[in-house]
Subunit: 452 residues, 3 copies
């Protein structure tokens, strides 16, 4: 059996052009921190290990790599130095070592696999992913002769002939694990910037009589993210991929350009999505359900034949069963809606559990917070909670109970009971005129007072 | 007088690539089922009859054709067979027969008319709409010689010379009603798929000494919808047309790319529409009205100089007069708002009738549903409904009446009366400290209990 | 020192193609009336004076020019006549006179400056901004010989050689203030339309032995707005510029194409903006703050590390401090939120002042309007306003006070007090069955009555 691959993810770049306190590789793309995209892509290779190379003190980046090991690159001395930093964590590994970049999140598992497979077949010491660019000017060029990669020439060092080469260096490499220590150790920093360039190992390997190869991929997969504008470009690419995959799977979207998917959004066939829906991470939606326009949905399993929105917001920790209706201006947070339950208008259900076939009236608030603790509201099956009610948690409304409209419920309502928590109406005939005269006079007086 | 045209709409395709339980031609485009677009386009020709050809058991598709006749194609034996299926329903028709496709909804009445007129002028037995494509590879080619259409060659049957022809078959045909039976009857299925191809009738007609012609149209009009992705493309084309027509008519739109119109949306000149507005079917808006950002509007006549939104949702059966204000997080359902009435903040008005110049306070709910029936709320003119009120329907608030804020109104309020349905305030001085200490202790205890 | 420039802004065009009651130059672009863009761009030149030329009776346009002078062009006799109209207001001015168009709002200060500087250096009587167009057909051409501008030829008057010239007239001119009266006075209207064309002064100046020059700019900057569709194009250009500048400054945007900025929106570095956010004029947001998806924000200063949205609406006159949370379906109007204050769910706070660290519960309404006057609600620091409360203004809730959920507060609540304004709950056991039977029977009876 072939020895498995190891993946080194370089994540120590400074990212100053982002102008952000957040480390660059933690900026979100399709609902995930950037680095997670490369990690998930790498994981699908089933590597023996993954090693992150991070900057000193980047605790949050280290955490994003967990449970994988990270090595700290003490000083920013170039990509060759960064790769060398990972050597300790690679001790004992003999298979290919794939070196990828946390800030180039668009690479696919298929492309990674192709590089590794080509290196294995060619018994290459080094393999490099390249791409043909319409405008190769800014990139290093891959100089291939007789099917072998001869060297990588930086753009500024290219001679006239090399400048015409359109085959560019992506930076992604596969290095023979048995040779990686020797090859990286041979890189020198005798250049203006005093940096160790990983690209030098191609010429080093060839000089030592090893094989080096280049494998072509699609330019799009290698786009790096160094600025907010490039982050936007990467987001657009990811969204295009996710939307196309959803359409292909039979998801209906009125205007996919206005549906923002997370990398892990799972939508069944025949889910219908209106314009302007944002999915945060952790959402699955069952067949036949509809998400109408203007929804913001995150961290929830939604069942089948359920209708959400328009203007609904679902927050993490929620679970919405089949045939549920969640209507406009309704917020769910950490709330379970049982089969066929309804909350159709202007309601806040937080930390709640609503039983099957129950109806939550318009304007209902589950009062889950008292300034100190968060408390649960439990509504049994087939209950009817009247409009504009306040359910002051912790509180239970029993199965089949009725809460009358406008009630403040502070005590549990037993199953089958009717609860009132509102005042009786008092109507004073012919009094509106006098009231209005008073209000009008008050407004006029205030206006006069303001003028003074 | 020329004999009128008949239109045959082929709608029996399986649509498996949609991966949907809904028949393909019923998927929505610009707020209408796909097939309705072709039907409305055909109707403008004032045809003597329209005949739909549908798959067995497609009741919903048949219903979409009503009041037009449909013929059931028992087995999917090709377009020629489908057209033949309609012959019974065409009995007695002598004028031209236009054959169009329910899943090609972008064709215009003007293009249909041009084909029919050209056929009449040329006394053609068959006329075919074609288009010049940049990439003709997938399409059948129209082979024209000396101004006459000789035959249609399927892409896979084309020889080298024919492959270079860029004039492609749209599938849309006009067939002489006096000849259609004979021509369709002559189509054979001696091909690999054992299907009857409608395209064969061109060569059949020519062999019989008849005239056949081709008429050029715009490729965009002939795009078929076979997948979710193609549905998206068709939606984009329709939206582009609708938006351009609205701008031309003097409608202002901040960002038309985020305004979704229905095919029947009627907007007067000087209507202003913010970004992110979705119009469902059945909306008209009068001059000078403004629909602010983030609105979802369907089935409502809106008057002049009215302001809607942002974040308003209007559902079918509503009628909003002139100079009305509907503000943020307000939902109307089957509700009439009289001239100058206002509901500016967080309210649900369902099955309601609000009189002219009345003011509905923030947070007001028309409690229209009791779990069994839906009931109406009627508010007279110049009434004032205080904030956070619940109007428990069926209920009437009379002209000029005042409902005080926070009231639950269960009984009619006479004109000019003031209604209270709330408790009197009780203030307990210096008690917040003790209350908070209690709440804090409760939260701490719960936290401790959780840890265990 | 060089004599300063004067700017004449031509704003008297009819704008009939807009099909609008609003004068064309007052239509909004990036939150400002169109004419204000040209005014702000011109102001950055620090001109000695700005003069607007307006149509008779265009009071609103005159107001948009304030405090700058306007001259009324009594009859629409062409651009030359319009420029002449400004001569009175230019009396005494000796420096260059820049003539720009209120309906060409995309010109930049840099381009204006380049023209003025080039004119000064060349001691030109007239300088004209031109652009190279892919499709010059509709434009007048700038005929340059030996580095000097010879004349401007209208498209319809161009001979074959001139038609090939791709250098087009933008209309923007810089005229020597010492010569402007003479030059404009020499323009004649001996043409079919009987209009005075400003473009004629180039040939006039050259014939009189003066220098005329052309300066090239970018076509995009000179696009005029004559229709709704062109207004949309101009909006897109402005939005693209504003979004790119924000990204460059370190603002994060998930999908900048769905963020609508106003010309004066100020966003600090590391502000994060979700998809679908509309900024009206007058917004600034401090570093580290997040505006989540689906927000509509106008006229507010927002502090640092504050979280807004999703689905929040903030209206003018508001001030939101650091570390504030404004959640979904919350509206602020003319409201101050102190440091760390929270209003997370379904609330309307109008004309309110909420103290630091106070919590406004879900569904709370500040009842600011009684039908006649608007009144203020003042909530002290560290207060807790329970859910679904109505604060009937004018009213004060003191520091550290508690308002219980569902209360209607009509009287001031002293600091540290607990206020109740709700009924006590009454629960009737086993009564839901009877209630439901009654409601069910009522619904059935209504259904029967309807059928009759």
């Amino acid at each position: 059996m072939k020895p498995p691959v190891a993946v080194v993810v370089l994540a120590a770049g400074a990212g100053t052009r982002m102008k952000s306190a957040l480390p660059k590789v933690l900026h979100a793309l399709a609902g995930w921190p950037m680095v997670r995209h490369v990690l998930e892509t790498a994981r699908r290779l089933k590597p023996a290990r993954i090693v992150g190379v991070v900057a000193p003190g980047a605790r949050a980046v280290e955490a994003a790599f967990a449970p994988h090991r990270t090595a700290v690159q003490r000083r920013p001395l170039g990509t060759g130095h960064a790769a060398k930093t990972a050597l300790g964590a690679l001790a004992g590994h003999r298979g290919p070592v794939l070196v990828v970049f946390a800030d180039a999140p668009l690479i696919t598992t298929a492309t990674m696999s192709r590089l590794v497979a080509a290196c294995r077949q060619a018994k290459a010491a080094v393999g490099v992913l390249g791409f043909v660019s319409r405008d190769p000017t800014p990139y290093g060029r891959l100089i291939v002769r007789d099917g072998l990669l001869e060297k990588i020439v930086e753009s500024r060092d290219a001679d006239e002939a090399e400048k015409k080469v359109e085959f560019c260096n992506s930076g992604v490499m596969c290095i023979d694990g048995a040779l990686i220590g020797t090859l990286l150790g041979a890189i020198r920093n005798d250049n203006i910037k005093r940096e160790f360039y990983l690209t030098d190992i191609v010429a080093i390997a060839r000089a030592a009589g090893h094989v080096a190869i280049a494998v072509e991929g699609d330019e799009e997969e290698f786009q790096g993210v160094n600025s907010r504008a490039e982050l936007v470009v990467a987001e657009k690419v990811l969204q295009r991929r996710l939307r196309a995959a959803a359409l292909e799977a039979g998801v209906g979207m009125t205007d996919p350009d206005t549906v923002w998917l997370a990398a892990d959004t799972r939508l069944a066939a025949d889910v219908a999505i209106g314009p302007n829906v944002r999915f945060g991470p952790g959402v699955s939606v069952g067949a036949g359900s509809e998400i109408k326009a203007f929804c913001d949905i995150e961290g929830v399993r939604i069942g089948r034949n359920t209708i959400i929105g328009p203007f609904a917001r679902i927050r993490p920790g929620s679970d919405v069963a089949d045939q549920v209706h969640i209507g406009n201006f309704v917020e769910l947070k950490a709330t379970r809606m049982g089969r066929g339950a309804k909350a159709n208008h202007l309601a806040y259900l937080g930390d709640s559990d609503v039983g099957a076939a129950s109806n939550i009236g318009a304007g209902t608030i589950a009062v889950n917070y008292d300034g100190y603790g968060k408390w649960r509201t439990v509504v049994g099956a087939e209950a009817f909670v009247g409009s504009n009610s306040s359910l002051v948690a912790p509180v239970r409304v029993g199965r089949g109970a009725n809460v009358t409209a406008g009630s403040v419920i502070t005590e549990d309502v037993p199953a089958g009971a009717v609860a009132f928590g509102r005042a009786r109406q008092v109507t004073k005939k012919r009094r509106a005129g006098a009231l209005r005269a008073k209000l009008k006079a008050r407004a006029a007086a205030a206006k006069r007072a303001k003028k003074k």
